[in-house]
Amino acid sequence: MVKLTIDYKEIQVEDGATILDAAVKAGISIPTLCHNEELSPAGACRVCAVEVATDKGPITVASCNYPVADGMVVSTRSEMALKARKLALEMLLAQSPHSEKITKLALDAGLDAPRFSLKGDECVLCRLCVRTCQEVVGLNAITFIAQGLNRDNKEACVEWDADKCIACGSCAFICPTKAVTLCDNVDTRVIQTPNTKMEFKMKACTKCGAYYAPEKQLEYMAKTAKLPIEKFDLCMDCRD
């Protein structure tokens, strides 16, 4: 066990926990955007910034991926922490001015409008979709392409592999900025991402005829459950 102090409160947590884990345990709230307890931390958005005292003076770190240490002194509401959080939100808001989630976080941080604007789509590269696809769905249909030298891509982005995608829609569900959207048009599911539009066939219920799920998703479910595909022929309403 590790003992640390967050906002003058003494907390004991397991070794290997993050500052955010410790804060949650102590009932101290830290705003987050790219964090999800089901997923590995990314440290992408920097919204969860907190101040940590070190022998060389205070520093700010992302609480979602910074591990606790014995005797650590953390402040979630110091001037330095708030300033870091505000700047992180300023970057996000400039990129995605229409995101309700980001707008609300920004307002909470006392930020009305960013001092600058940014070009491009609404994707803030939080990679919630990437991690959900890899870690929850268990596929590698969405990958992050970093910007770098001698690459095929010009800018950092998130790429969908339509062949691997099963159209489950988890990415659209988890996206905080609606940069990925999902729309079911009767027999077709359309997933729109910042750089691709993908269409998937929906499966009609063999009893009532209603379209109820993408065919590729049902195939994937049948395969992972090791069941014959016919087991997935009926919609939820027609199943016993």
Binding site: A44, R46, P67, Q147
Partner: protein, 638 residues
Amino acid sequence: MSSVVFSSWEGQVVDNRSGQHAASAASDIKVPLKYGDSDVAAFISWDGLVLADKKVSVVALVKAYIAEAAKLACGECSMGYRGLAVLADILGRICGGKGQPGDVDLLLDLAQNIQKNVKCDFCANAVIPLKDALRNYREAFEKATSGNEVIPNIDYIKKVTAPCQEACPIHQDVPGYLELVRNRRNTEALKLIRRTNCLPCVTGRTCVAFCEKNCVRGDIDAPLSIRALKRVPADMGIIQPQPFDKGAREDKVAIVGAGPAGLSAANYLARLGYQVQIFDEQPTSGGMTFAGIPSYRLPRNVLALEIEHITSLDILMHPDLRIRHVEDLQKRFKAVLVATGAHQSRDNGIDNWNADYDTLMEGVSFLRDISCGKAIAPKNQVLVVGGGNTAIDCARTAKRLGCKDVTIVYRRGRHEMPARDEEVKAAEEEGIKFQFLAVPTKIHSQNSRVVGAECIRMELGEPDASGRRKPVPMKNSEFTMSADMVLTAIGEVPDTSFLDGALELTSWNSVKADKNGVTVVPWLFAAGDCVSGPASVVEAMAAGKRAAESIHAYISNNKKLSSELALDGVLHDLSLSRRRRGPKLPSTKRLHPRELPPDERVQGFDEAEECFNVQVAAREAGRCLRCYRVMLIVKGQG
């Protein structure tokens, strides 16, 4: 850079704008003075900016630098990625004559806070020269912001590197491929690796990994497992060989030696379109990678596939053919590269050494025999003399043959051993014994059979030329070790007899050539171990590549120094530091690929180390700090 006007290099501000300390500056600042033959007018990079010419606009210089840095920000955190884009944007509008009131303060505020709050080192370092410029040239920025004048762009030369990349003899884009591995984009990672490395499977298994020694993570917790990570995309490429473009030229080039230096040179020359032919006296290609590296470290089929990948570029192979006289090749080829390696053992100085005994062998011959499939009966007690990688390979191979008792006898101590630490540890795990500070002086034999070796104990004296303490024999310390086989691995020298004196040799029989493989004979080039003496695979590959460039320059009659080589000079002056100015980072654990347990490994010659799986590789690669350094050089008039 005759005199420095201003420098903030390494955080040390030298301000000589008033011109009063004209003489002092340049010599104290560790920055490049020359780019090829030109003076450097200005220089900007991760550790500050330096101006030698007052006429260079600091605002335009910083704008260009931030714009270049912004192109390299990865996007892992929006603070760095978007932050640099915003900075580039603001600087762009200032230089475009469209600056807004408050822009200078906004820049400074953003730069300071981006530096403190980014995820890794790249963007944190990138803003350092901007901060230095804003603090020391504030009036220039204010003037540019308030005026409506357009500040013209400046011409510059860009170089991007990293401490790991600089340490690597073939300068691979290590942060680049690690990032792709981290993001599970291994196909692209391999493409990137292949740009500079034609033997990724070989180096992914056996490289001495200079990069890891210069990994900045090493100062925080432990260097990344870069070598093992490279193997992940490399091994995928074995299954799916990638074709690459090939030009077409008439000129023929001969390469003598199919080791890593020759193969690397052949790869580059063939890609430039030359008609390349490789001659090797051995039936199997690979040079020391075949003969000297045992198959438990580098399976033969992996090596063969990798070489096939290179020779598929229409390279004509002449195995099993010893060139007797190099002059013979001159008639048929425009240029000849000597890349024959170092395979001859040095005189071991051991009395009663009878080379006719098959139980008294040079280590390299022993390894070559095993590699060629020759059966060697297991012995009871084997002594291996030496402390380098060859000695370890001999000992571990002997163990795998079923030899009961294997002891490495080394004249220095454990710390002085030139062998890779992980190899030494693996040998220890496999039950190989070590006799340090001793050297065999005489072989004892009975009835034509080796029964032991007389040894003498050593102590360490003053450091020698290599910086290691020189072993000195202790008087009356002789002792006998029983043995029925003795192998020597005390270093090899090149066999240069086929040169017929065409080239000058050094005192230890290696070929005299400069680091670009150029010799005194215009059509004759040399690279690899035959020049350097026994070195690593990756150093041989680098030498082969440089020689290929020299051959190309010679045949195409292009005397101009390539920008790469000019920059090498710049970087040499700079001594790329590992010093971090990035955010404080928590300590992480280095992940290692799994290995077969020692008792299983010694049962045979199966590959001991496994390849990381994609998920674990992504996690380990995620430890990379991406210590890219961007540098811009503005050339002076001179």
